[in-house]
């Protein structure tokens, strides 16, 4: 079979096969078209690219290391395990790659205010950070349930000068924060730039966010050639909306020898219905401006999700993932809360790294497959963020008092 040209997607209407598109109210259609136009111009503008590269190098701290986790490899007894250390970026997650890019776009478009939605708080912190640096006003929408379980990040955003608005509608989590940010944007569209944190939303966002995160996969190509002497055999990353996964996967889609597995939040287990795994157990639908796999009931209402990890607690997924799933190019699976937590502890003890609960899902998957692979095989796990923000959640779950 001929390998499709993955770089040709989305098409000029923002579609990845049947997925993607632009399903928003009329007021936002023209602003989205203008954003698309501005991005098409700026992404080939040497001055814009130089500014972006400079920020990624000197402000974010890129490139992030590709770390050979030798003790973990030994403990699991099989394939070599490598960690792409996005947790070492400024603000502690891959999210900053995208916010730096979008904030530069906002600046070039003359916008004075940025808004963002956040689940775990990492995208909110990354947005607040870059807003402070560029002197932009920043408002972050966050479900009140997430405000409570991610309080350290809420405080970080406030310290950075952002206003955090708790969202009390619907299920009070990430999806409702996104609805509220859209409502803000439609009201303040003249001076406001909406910095979407994942590869979802209306076109051109899934493309923008993918492009800004693809620096991760481009670095891994170079680093694995240097450190392994070739490309890895398996890439794995957690998938909520899917921005860290697409960032790692996208540049390597043209190489059929590289297998890719996206790991969704299995929550209490797919069979319990209490999970956040639309690719594993959902169906195509329309949510938040794009057509993709969603978790919905028979009436088409979006249903509540569950995951120990706030950043994966989302009923939709980026449209490119939906398309890559149907095409069979990327496989998707899910691991449970318990499996993710076990992987969290294992990495902490074996390597001295506290991973984010989100990234712990990818680790838990690697743990399942590494023992069955030969020692000359290489797995790259996207360690998308650091776990400091999660210590309260873990303590509470394990019955430990920190006060």
């Amino acid at each position: 079979m001929k390998t499709p040209d993955y770089s040709a997607f989305p098409d000029d209407r923002g579609h990845f096969g049947p997925y993607g598109g632009r399903f928003v109210s009329e007021t936002l259609m023209e602003p989205l078209r203008r954003l698309e136009e501005a991005y098409a111009r700026l992404k080939n503008d040497p001055a814009f690219l130089a500014e972006l590269d400079d920020d990624l190098k000197h402000y974010v701290g890129r490139p992030s290391p590709l770390y050979h986790a030798k003790r973990l490899t030994k403990a699991w007894g099989g394939a070599q395990v490598w960690l792409k250390r996005e947790d070492l970026n400024h603000t502690g997650a891959h999210k900053i790659n995208n916010t730096v890019g979008q904030a530069l776009l906002a600046k070039h478009l003359g916008k004075t205010r940025i808004i963002a939605e956040t689940g775990a708080g990492q995208h909110g912190v990354a947005s607040a950070t870059i807003a402070a640096r560029l002197g932009l006003k920043c408002v972050v929408y966050m479900g009140i349930e997430d405000v409570e379980r991610q309080s350290p990040n809420v405080f970080r955003m406030k310290l950075l000068g952002a206003e955090v608005v708790p969202v009390t509608s619907g299920t009070k989590t990430l999806k409702d924060a996104l609805n509220e940010a859209m409502r803000d944007w439609v009201t303040n569209v003249d001076d406001t730039f909406y910095v979407i944190g994942t590869v979802a939303g209306p076109h051109p966002y899934p493309m923008l966010v993918r492009d800004f995160n693809s620096v991760v996969g481009r670095e891994v190509i170079r680093q694995s050639k240097e450190q392994m002497g070739r490309l890895p055999d398996l890439l794995t990353a957690c998938v909520g909306g899917g921005s860290n996964a697409i960032g790692l996967f996208h540049p390597m889609l043209p190489f059929p020898e590289v297998r890719m597995v996206g790991v969704e939040a299995g929550g209490d287990g797919i069979e319990t219905g209490r999970h956040a795994a639309p690719l594993s157990a959902g169906k195509p639908g329309v949510l938040h401006g794009n057509r993709t796999y969603v978790m919905a009931d028979d009436d088409g209402q979006i249903i509540g999700t569950h995951s120990v990890s706030a950043g994966l607690d989302y009923p939709g997924v980026g449209p490119e993932h939906a398309w890559l799933k149907d095409a069979g190019r990327v496989e998707y699976t899910a691991v449970t809360d318990d499996e993710a937590l076990a992987a969290f502890h294992e990495l902490a003890h074996a390597e001295g790294i506290l991973p984010a609960l989100e990234s712990s899902h990818a680790l838990a998957y690697a743990k399942k497959v590494a023992p069955g692979m030969a020692a000359d095989r290489h797995i790259v796990v996207n360690l998308s963020g650091r776990g400091d923000k999660d210590i309260f959640t873990i303590a509470k779950r394990e019955g430990i008092s920190l006060t």
Binding site: E30, G170, D299
Partner: protein
Amino acid sequence: MSRISGVLEALKSKGRKALIPFITAGDPHPKHTVGLMHALVEAGADVLELGVPFSDPMADGPVIQLACERALVHHTSLRQCIAMVAEFRQRDTKTPVVLMGYLNPIEAMGLENFAKTAHAAGVDGVLVVDLAVEEAPEFSPTLAKAGLDCIFLIAPTSPAARIEAAAKLASGYLYYVSLKGVTGAANLDVDSVAAKVAEIRGITGIPVVVGFGIRDAASASAVSAVSDGVIVGSALVSEIERNQAHPERLPELLKAKLAPMRMAMDRL
């Protein structure tokens, strides 16, 4: 001619403007909706817009979000909304009814199935808030084939090319969103509405009705003077919210809210 076009043309020939109230189906409880629809007609409604509840009403302000949540407590589904229209039609065969909602519940039901079932029940038009013309090349002909009018939104940000594209696929009326914002917002500017409606009329002959931010007799009268009619939603839905504990009072309360708008518009 569709029931919607018939009603709007008759109004125009008499120099009158259309009054189009909106309520969310199933709010505060599905058993009240049909009664409220009849009450709105008695108070002078020309067309009814019935909101189909959705879990993620991205384009709506807090008032209609809460109405969706109240309706969804009772699992008010798209099929039930259609059944309510069928029940309404037992006593009223004249007043057009437009279903207004979001795309996902329609897709969950299946587009063709939805169009056929809705038309058979007496639904006249459909407005899908998150479906702009670009994504509607299949949607709009399927609706038209089933005999339903496809209503599109036009916004203050819509350039001429988008208005032309919408006018090509639309029938019944165009819904001009009076402001940049969500439903129930308060920053209505009649002069800018007048200018945009004039621009739309220069492009198409389809009637232009205006919604978002119309809350009382004065705003209804001012906006209808520069358009073909007004849509009133959040102002009525707030009344339902305030009196949800006394649903028996709602028909009279909604009439009391709507009737002064009718009078003010007819004085033009």
